[in-house]
Amino acid sequence: MGANGPSLPDRARNGRLAVYAIAAAIGLILAFAPFLFGDVRSQQVAARICVFIVLVASYDLLIGYTGIVSFAHTMFFGLGAYGAAIALKQWGPGWSAVLVGGGAGIVAAAALAALIGVLSLRVKAIFFAMVTLAAASVMLVLASQLSAITNGEDGLVYVAPKLLTPATILFTGADGKAAKWFGVRMDGKIAAYYFVFLTCLVLFAALYRIIRSPLGAVLEAVRENEIRAEAIGYRVVAYRTAVFVIAAVIAACAGVVWAVWLRYTGPETTLSFAIMIDILLMVVIGGMGTMTGAVIGVTVMSLAQFYLKDLMGAAAEATAAIPVLPQLLNPDRWLFWLGILFILLVYFFPAGVAGTLMKKGTH
């Protein structure tokens, strides 16, 4: 980040443009996803990409911009999701349940982040990472054990606010059912998608605003050299704690959106360490310390997770006549190929796709 004048080499400027162009294209596709892809699965992928862009970007605020390693990001995500889910389950569908329950989850996330931050952000980074890992494990156990309110491993199934349910008609067509615009029914399903898209857009914009602000500049100073940052007058512990709380609040907001979209909340969809690993991989693929990289990393990784199996199934069929290949391309081996893809990405983009293209931080 920071000022980049005319001395910036052309190559880096082109790379920067390429990254913004890719991110803008992804943004446009997400904005019109319901009109571009009719099927339910694609919309599920698009919504997941929206929510995870916010989740990964907020994590990058910690790890990439400020240099804080935390493993508790899913914990905050889960607090938001469970807050909304429990309220929706207990009170039935309604926006007040989303606002009050989700709000309570977000406040809990902020309080917990402040507590962890104040107690352990002064100590060594490795110790802090361990504390977050422990806290996240405890939260995962709590969610499974407190089955009276969380329904344990099975999780909670509930109904979304009425506006977002499929039966809702946004615009009535000639046939008395929901009107079709460009072939898409204007019903609650499309309202649900745009609820996800627009909330995530606002949250992402807020994050973007922060990294471009004077506060964002201080965060990078803390990452680069905390002793000097302190020496010129920035209270490092306070900034670290603040950014930890901000990231937790944004992750919790993403959790609320995710809970409303899925109409299901369980440990597997919000709190599991598999998701924490996904977040880490997405940050690394996109490029640490590049907010736009989150957009690219999440998209690449999500597409691979959802479609690699299909692609391999098709490839295995197409190569059925050739020996060995069909076995290699068997859809059951998709994780193996995902691993290969990841290794290739890291090899060709050591600083992540966005980071490498922008030639940030010439070492």
């Binding site: 000022a3 004077p214 506060l215 302190e230 020496a231 007058g233 209270r235 901000i246």
Partner: protein, 254 residues
């Protein structure tokens, strides 16, 4: 005589059995440039670290304008006007040269806690930062990462960061160490200009006696963590202990 702007009383720090700074008491006044000299390992940098808050003393106290600041964190000390540059260059390596200085200006202006406005909305901070870069002739390198600068230019940036803090107390730790003869004057001129503004207190750790002679109003000598001499340059330079300490240092002959 003016009241002391900075004072240490019986300041002591122990590292295990080693006493790096041993009961150092001395006071400094605005308008005065004090050179702090002593052999390698005498405790000069450690004394600086105690004053600016990078280290906490084992015992003793530090006062800024009469206020006890011994327990304050380094950032708060910067806030009350204690600024220091480092002997070992200590920058934000991957940030641009301009951003390095802009951060110091921003800290001074108290604008660090603004999340909702763009950095671009504070053009006066950048303008000030550019002026500080111009003072050390680094304006052409403004957009280069600090890590890409030559050693000499990094030393200049180190000093520009201190100047950008605009403190009451300037602490320089061998600012021209390792710089070529044609680079050093930029920094010495800057120190001279700060001294000419009679409201500032300047502390300068320096091995080169020619520099000390040119700039110092007063010399404090540290040896083995202890303050062994303190006074006007001509008196201190004549002391046998100082001649003994500096024997063998090429530049030391008066």
């Amino acid at each position: 005589m003016a009241a002391p702007s900075l004072e240490t009383k019986d300041l002591t720090i122990r590292f295990g059995g080693h006493v790096a700074v041993n009961s150092v008491s001395c006071a400094f006044r605005p308008g005065e440039l004090t050179a702090i000299v002593g052999p390698n390992g005498a405790g000069k940098t450690t004394w600086f670290n105690l004053v600016s808050g990078q280290l906490a003393p084992t015992s003793g106290a530090i006062f800024k304008d009469g206020r006890n600041i011994t327990r304050l964190p380094a950032s708060t000390r910067a806030g009350v006007g204690i600024g220091r540059a480092f002997q070992l260059t200590n920058l934000f390596p991957r940030l641009s040269v301009l951003e390095n200085v802009r951060l110091a200006v921003q800290a001074r202006a108290g604008d660090g806690w603004r999340p909702w406005r763009s950095v671009g909305a504070f053009p006066h901070l950048e303008k000030k930062a550019m002026a500080h870069l111009a003072t050390v002739r680094l304006e052409d390198a403004a957009h280069v990462p600090a890590a890409a600068l030559s050693h000499g230019d990094q030393r200049k940036l180190e000093v520009a960061l201190l100047a950008a803090m605009d403190p009451d107390i300037f602490m320089f730790d061998e600012p021209t160490a390792g710089m070529s003869v044609d680079e050093a004057p930029v920094i010495l001129d800057l120190i001279g200009a700060i001294k000419a503004d009679r409201s500032k207190t300047v502390l300068l750790v320096e091995h080169k006696m020619s520099v000390v002679r040119a700039l110092a109003d007063r010399i404090v000598v540290l040896n083995n963590g202890e303050l062994v001499a303190d006074g006007a340059p001509e008196n201190v330079m004549a002391l046998p202990i100082v001649r003994e300490i500096y024997l063998g240092v090429a530049d030391a002959a008066p």
